[in-house]
């Protein structure tokens, strides 16, 4: 299924989308695949599939630790791309958005990278350290490979830039709820909700709100404020990192959490 269709269907069902974010390979690849299966079976609509990087400067402590462990365990970009194929082979049909830092595609060759993820079935990329100003190559190769290049919008983004970004964006816009990095937070300000509303005035494109979402209520709030869905990542890692010896044991808890957050996305939509 592609992104456009997913958003359309969810709209018809009057649901917000939920996109969990997972880095592959923590603590090992097989667990990551199972984790992703659990997520999609229990509420995830879209998957943000992270390729670990050594210096994930847009990520908070939870995902930093995740990347560090994954790299120690020998994960490579190629193994990650292979992981996407594995998911497709196992029947996961949800849209997959690949997230990584720019040095990974840069070193592989941006075109090669795009082609390879397209081939295994990904639909889009998020490269948090590439703003529109630096996105020429990314956009050109994305177009060539039919991979959406997702851009982010932040509370600091000016109206000027908002316009520029919406001009280039495709797939959806990633709305950063807070000034900061990824990581589960207790509460989200009104300012976040205002940002969603502000972006909505510029574009009809789907808006996925992320950063700091870790429970049903937060998901519900951002969707109620006009976002088309909610992204959550660190909150899942926070569950399984407590039991890295036997992470599979935490999957029921994660199944429950993803269900709740998805429920928040549904309820938020209906509260509009």
């Amino acid at each position: 299924m592609n992104l456009e269709k997913t958003f359309e269907e969810l709209k018809n069902k009057r649901e917000g989308a939920h996109m969990p974010h997972v880095y592959l390979g923590d603590p090992h690849k097989e667990f990551s695949l199972k984790l992703i299966q659990t997520l999609v079976e229990n509420g995830a609509d879209i998957l943000e599939f992270g390729i670990p990087f050594s210096d994930p400067t847009a990520d908070g402590p939870t995902f930093q630790a995740v990347c560090e462990r994954a790299l120690e365990n020998g994960v490579t970009p190629s193994k990650c791309i292979q992981g996407i194929k594995n998911l497709r082979d196992r029947g996961v049909e949800n849209p997959i958005v690949v997230t990584t830092y720019y040095n990974i595609p840069y070193v592989m060759g941006v075109g090669t990278f795009m082609n390879r993820i397209r081939e295994v079935g990904a639909q889009a990329v998020i490269i948090p350290n590439v703003p529109v100003e630096e996105a020429d190559v990314l956009l050109a190769e994305g177009k060539r490979s039919s991979i959406h290049v997702i851009f982010q919008i932040a509370p600091t983004t000016t109206e000027d830039r908002l316009k520029k970004i919406t001009d280039f964006a495709s797939g959806f816009l990633y709305v950063i709820n807070v000034e900061g990095v990824t990581g589960a937070r207790e509460s989200l300000d009104d300012s976040t909700l205002k940002l969603v509303q502000r972006v909505r005035r510029h574009t009809d494109m789907p808006l996925m709100a992320g950063f700091g979402i870790s429970n049903k209520k937060q998901a519900s709030n951002v969707v109620a404020a006009g976002a088309d869905g909610a992204i959550a990542g660190s909150c899942y890692a926070k569950v399984y990192e407590k039991n890295l010896e036997n992470p599979e044991e935490t999957l029921p808890q994660i199944a429950q959490l993803v269900g709740q957050i998805k429920q928040g996305c549904i309820e938020g939509y209906r509260r509009r």
């Binding site: 050594s54 400067t57 847009a58 908070g60 970009p77 040095n103 990974i104 630096e134 830039r161 000034e179």
Partner: protein, 391 residues
């Protein structure tokens, strides 16, 4: 036309969207305030009266005899705080005030930049927070004490290897949470545009002085300028006014660590390749997949896997010759300079000295050389004494 913030392909603004508006604001503020007479007056006043500029250009007679060329030392060790770092922090602190921000954050490895930031912060009455890898906190204990005594907050960074690379990452993260009120005072010619440009501009006071002083003393430009570096700020500061003077040879010396084998050095020009880290495309140590590798050298201030965009470009284009010195040569160089001229160099600076000592054949007899003496070795005293007692 050269794209703003790019040096060839190097440079750019590879940052989170959160920071882009802040970088744009910073660039605008710099372009607006820096050229004004008022800003120049404030900056030059502080450089002169607080920092102690101009620093002298000292003809090192004894050292010259030793290496067989005519060597002048550009005495950045005389700058208040003990290194060139203050040239830049004073400038950025003034800029921070102009932007109406009230806090500074930064990272530091050798502690020199952290110290210089705290100093500039206090002069301009800005709150200062310094991120520092736990490993660097240990090996640069005296600078940590100084920073704390100045009332700045030192925040230990224990992710990764607990060194500079990790501290930069954490400072960037922190910045994304407070960039409205807080300026990230970048300590070298690294990071996203406009930082490399801002830092190089503030540091190029070094080279401007060299030019004036060597003309006064020798009536001609130097044949060669030698500088150590990592991000490249002291080197670019010295080189910039000479880049267009094609007859002036420029040599940049990076940390050879224990050996050029992988994971044992900080020699990005020797064994790194272009990559994107901390907001810019630069020459960087990395594996075949693009994962950044940690650097290793006894000189904390050179212990960074990347070379800043401008020096990356100059090194790769051949305008600047790149060299390196091994740790053991560096400690020897400390001793040689201490004995010859009574000056204890910083371990970073000692790389440039070691290069000259170990490559005498590259320097003609009586060749006119300016060695940028980027800092004094007080901060490294423990490390140096321990090295000589252990080995």
């Amino acid at each position: 036309m050269k794209k703003k913030g790019k040096f060839g392909d190097f440079g750019g603004q590879y940052v989170n969207e959160v920071l882009m508006p802040i970088l744009i604001e910073l660039e605008a503020a710099f372009e607006k305030h820096y050229p004004t007479a008022e800003f120049q007056a404030k900056l030059n006043g502080l450089l002169r009266d607080y920092a102690g500029r101009p620093t002298s250009l000292y003809y090192a007679r004894n050292f010259s005899e030793l290496v067989g060329s005519k060597v002048y030392l550009k005495r950045e060790d005389l700058v208040c705080g003990g290194s060139h770092k203050l040239n830049n922090t004073l400038g950025q602190a003034l800029l921070t005030k102009e932007m109406g921000k009230t806090r500074l954050i930064t990272e530091t490895a050798a502690g020199q930049h952290g110290l210089a930031t705290a100093m500039a912060g206090n002069v301009c009455q800005l709150e200062t927070e310094v991120f520092m890898g736990v490993k660097d906190i240990k090996r640069q204990a005296s600078n940590v004490k100084r920073i704390k005594l100045l009332g700045a907050k030192v925040t230990p960074v224990d992710i990764g290897m607990g060194v500079l690379k990790d501290a930069v990452s954490d400072t960037l993260r922190k910045w994304t949470t407070c960039s409205m009120t807080t300026h990230y005072l970048m300590g070298s010619t690294v990071g996203p545009h406009p930082f490399p440009e801002i830092v190089a501009t503030f540091q190029s006071v070094i080279g401007k002085e060299i030019k004036k002083q060597i003309l006064e003393k020798e009536g001609r430009l130097p044949d060669t300028i030698v500088a150590c570096g990592s991000g490249g700020s002291n080197a670019l500061g010295a080189f910039r006014p000479f880049i267009k003077e094609k007859d002036v040879r420029l040599i940049f010396v990076e940390g050879g660590g224990e050996s050029l084998e992988s994971d044992n050095n900080a020699a990005a020009f020797q064994i790194g390749k272009p990559g994107i880290l901390h907001g810019a495309l630069m020459q960087v140590l990395q594996d075949e997949n693009g994962q950044i590798k940690p650097s290793r050298t006894r000189a904390a201030g050179l212990n960074y896997p990347g070379r800043g965009p401008e020096i990356s470009f100059l090194g790769n284009s051949g305008r600047v010759k790149t060299g390196y010195a091994f740790d053991s040569q560096v400690f020897e160089a400390v001793k040689i300079m201490s004995k010859a001229e009574g000056l204890i160099p910083a371990l970073e600076t000692a790389h440039a000295i070691a290069y000259m000592v170990n490559h005498k054949e590259e320097f003609d007899k009586n060749e006119l050389v300016v060695l940028n003496f980027s800092g004094r070795g007080d901060k490294d005293l423990e490390t140096i004494m321990r090295y000589f007692h252990e080995s």
